[in-house]
């Protein structure tokens, strides 16, 4: 039995080492991700978003052990920093963004922050899910439940849409970040159906417009 078992361990260890070596090759970095890259990020390398954490691996492990035995207040990032807004802005920062994430840090958004954390890019664009947007279609409800527009130009008023809780219609007319050249329609039958928006969230074609106000950088290292 032992010889058969040792053969099994031998084969298993050799194959495992080959797999780990394969996964360690830099050009195959896309093989070691937790999930598919989000749409548009397919060709990015890991260091586009993942900065090296400060300190050596040994120091990071020591710090985290100290954290576990309550001798340190905060957990220390290991190996790489957790990506945050500044990593996203390195390519996507725009002055004319309609929903700048930093605005959600204002006190009036406290309740919304507790619910969906809109102050973080990753709350709606969680990476490694193979999609474009990970938020729900009805996310507007968290901030716009009291929306009333004076001289409302559309055939069914915004007030009525809010009253009827038609939250999935918002994005049918309005591009959330406002980066597309498109004029919101005034009639409901001209709006983009929610299933098309949903597909866009999942990585489908852009239904708003192909003309964008600003293009994102291809890489954060681009001048």
């Amino acid at each position: 039995m032992r010889s058969s078992a040792y053969l099994g361990y031998g084969i298993g260890i050799i194959i495992s080492i080959l797999i780990i070596l394969l996964l360690s090759i830099d050009s195959l970095h896309s093989w070691r991700v937790e999930g598919e890259f989000n749409v548009g990020h397919e060709n990015l390398s890991c260091n586009e978003c993942h900065d090296k954490a400060t300190g050596s691996i040994q120091q990071q492990i020591q710090s985290n052990i100290q954290y576990l035995i309550s001798e340190r207040e905060n957990v220390t990032t290991f190996n790489f920093e957790i990506p945050d807004n500044k990593d996203c802005f390195a390519c996507h920062e725009r002055d004319n963004d309609r929903h700048k994430v930093h605005r959600f840090n204002e006190p009036k958004f406290k309740k919304v922050r507790d619910k969906i954390q809109p102050q973080l890019c990753v709350s709606c664009h969680l990476e490694h899910n193979g999609v474009r947007v990970t938020a729900e279609l009805d996310m507007c409800q968290h901030c716009h439940e009291k929306t009333v527009i004076k001289d409302d130009p559309i055939e069914v008023s915004h007030e009525d849409l809010v009253k009827s809780k038609s939250w999935k219609t918002c994005l049918g007319c309005h591009d959330f970040h406002g980066n597309h050249y498109n004029e919101p329609p005034t009639k409901l039958n001209k709006m983009i159906p929610s299933d098309i928006i949903k597909k866009y969230f999942e990585g489908g074609n852009d239904p708003y417009s192909l003309n964008k106000r600003e293009k994102s950088k291809e890489t954060r290292y681009e001048n």
């Binding site: 298993g12 495992s16 797999i19 999930g35």
Partner: protein, 468 residues
């Protein structure tokens, strides 16, 4: 090469032969343990290596290795056909055989396709009979031993050995209260021994016996006419219960709670003897329990050999594991996801704690290899059972951590994990034939290598999730 005593050279024991299949212990591994030990040290040897302690099927081989004379060579002298697939076999030896009690069993060893096979069969011989042993055997489509026996002819120079009689939880045949035997199918064999014993000892006071024999169809009755004849002159009652009608549906004859209560009322202070398939035993035991019959008054021969009992457990594990595996694959293929669980699994804290739970589970599966490769052999038997029972729960533990297969390296990890489970399910217990040993030698490296790959990939996964 170890030659078997008193046999010619066709069938031999090889030092490399597996003696205990439950724990995959080879003969040469036991040889080193028995040096300087006497035959009555068998329990300490078995405890030391764990062999013979799981299903007990190989205990007799341990005794043999320790120098005890356990086998008596016999020849087939009579074969009778009792039902379409049931035959009785009479074996005689050159020397007087050790007297047996009614209802005891023997282990028969025969050289089939150049290897020694063992099976346990209940004796149908009257007690005290020393001139011959008789067993009654039903053939099964995939039964290596039963089919070999059924093809046997009288006078063929086959090499067959029988053990001394075994089994001690047997009802006495000289009590005054009635012994009610609820037996089904081939489970009538111990009852045959009881009746034959009583009919031979009719000059002394014998116990009243009631035999209730259940069969699916009338054609499956076994030695019914003989039993009826013997019942005429003794205090014996025999009842044949045919439980299925011509359209294969169950009929009113089948034993149920009400009928058992009627038996109990009509025969107060009786003892009960049960023998038959596991489902039959389970049902009748529960009916007797409801009828408030004490367990002290119930004798059970569960009709299966210890090996087949182990196989029954293995099949139970196999089906549970397979069903859970299919359920996991289906829920992902059909996207039958629960929103609350998906939300939970996307949270970092949940990922960490369910991941730790998953890791602890996997480490617990490596206890068996640890006990086998270290010198903690006495823990092997328990570790083996736990390994099998825990192993089949793998899809559930995985599901708690993730309901998806993942992509790229995570997909490789998932597939390797389930490959370990699948190879585990199709283990040597489910492949019970003469090819078992060669199958085992190919199966074990495959199962272990998938397990090792899984652990390496999990190590890599932990590195990735803590780094990024």
């Amino acid at each position: 090469m170890i030659e078997k005593k008193d046999q010619n050279t066709i069938c031999k024991y090889n030092a490399d032969d597996i003696l205990c299949y439950c724990l995959s212990i080879k003969r040469y591994e036991i040889e080193s343990l028995i040096i300087g030990k006497r035959s009555n040290d068998i329990d300490s040897v078995m405890n030391q290596c764990g062999g013979g302690t799981v299903c007990n099927g190989c205990k007799i081989l341990f005794s043999e290795m320790m120098g005890e004379s356990v086998w008596t060579p016999v020849k087939v002298t009579q074969i009778n056909r009792l039902a379409p697939n049931v035959k009785s076999f009479r074996f005689e030896a050159d020397i007087p055989l050790q007297p047996a009690q009614a209802g005891q069993h023997i282990v028969i060893q025969a050289c089939i396709n150049n290897r020694w096979e063992l099976r346990r069969y209940t004796l149908t011989t009257p007690a005290e009979e020393q001139n011959y042993r008789e067993i009654t055997v039903k053939s099964y489509s995939k039964g290596v031993f039963s089919n070999w026996l059924h093809q046997l002819e009288i006078g063929e120079n086959e090499r067959i050995c029988v053990s001394k009689p075994m089994g001690d939880n047997l009802p006495s045949l000289i009590n005054t209260n009635t012994l009610i035997c609820f037996v089904a199918g081939i489970g009538i064999t111990p009852a045959l021994s009881f009746i034959r014993t009583i009919s031979q000892q009719s000059n002394r006071p014998n116990r009243p016996i009631l035999i209730d024999h259940s069969v699916n169809f009338k054609e499956q009755k076994i030695a019914f006419e003989e039993l009826q004849d013997l019942a005429l002159n003794n205090n014996i009652e025999v009842n044949l219960r045919v439980t299925k009608n011509s359209t294969l549906e169950l009929n009113d004859e089948r034993l149920n709670q009400q009928k058992i209560i009627e038996f109990v009322r009509a025969n107060p202070n009786s003892d009960y003897f049960l023998c038959g398939p596991p489902g039959y035993i389970k049902n009748i035991s529960s009916y007797l329990d409801v009828a408030r019959i004490s367990k002290d008054n119930i004798f059970i021969d569960d009709f299966t050999t210890s090996k087949s009992r182990k196989r029954s457990d293995s099949y139970h594990d196999f089906y549970v594991g397979l069903l859970l595996l299919i359920a996991f694959f289906l829920q992902d293929a059909l996207q039958l996801k629960m929103d609350w669980l998906e939300t939970l699994q996307s949270q970092d804290t949940y990922k960490i704690y369910s991941g730790i739970f998953f890791l602890i589970y996997l480490i617990s599966l490596f206890v068996l290899p640890y006990t086998k490769l270290s010198n903690k052999r006495r823990f092997n038997a328990k570790a083996y059972q736990k390994h099998k029972h825990r192993g089949v729960l793998a899809p559930v533990i995985f599901y708690i951590h993730s309901t998806n297969f993942g992509t790229v390296y995570l997909l490789a990890l998932t597939l390797s994990f389930f490959a370990t489970l699948i190879t585990g399910l199709f283990n040597h217990d489910c492949f019970y034939s003469i090819k078992r040993e060669s199958y085992f030698k190919k199966w074990l490296p495959l199962h272990i290598s998938f397990g090792v790959i899984t652990m390496f990939l999990i190590g890599f996964h932990i590195y990735v999730v803590s780094s990024y």
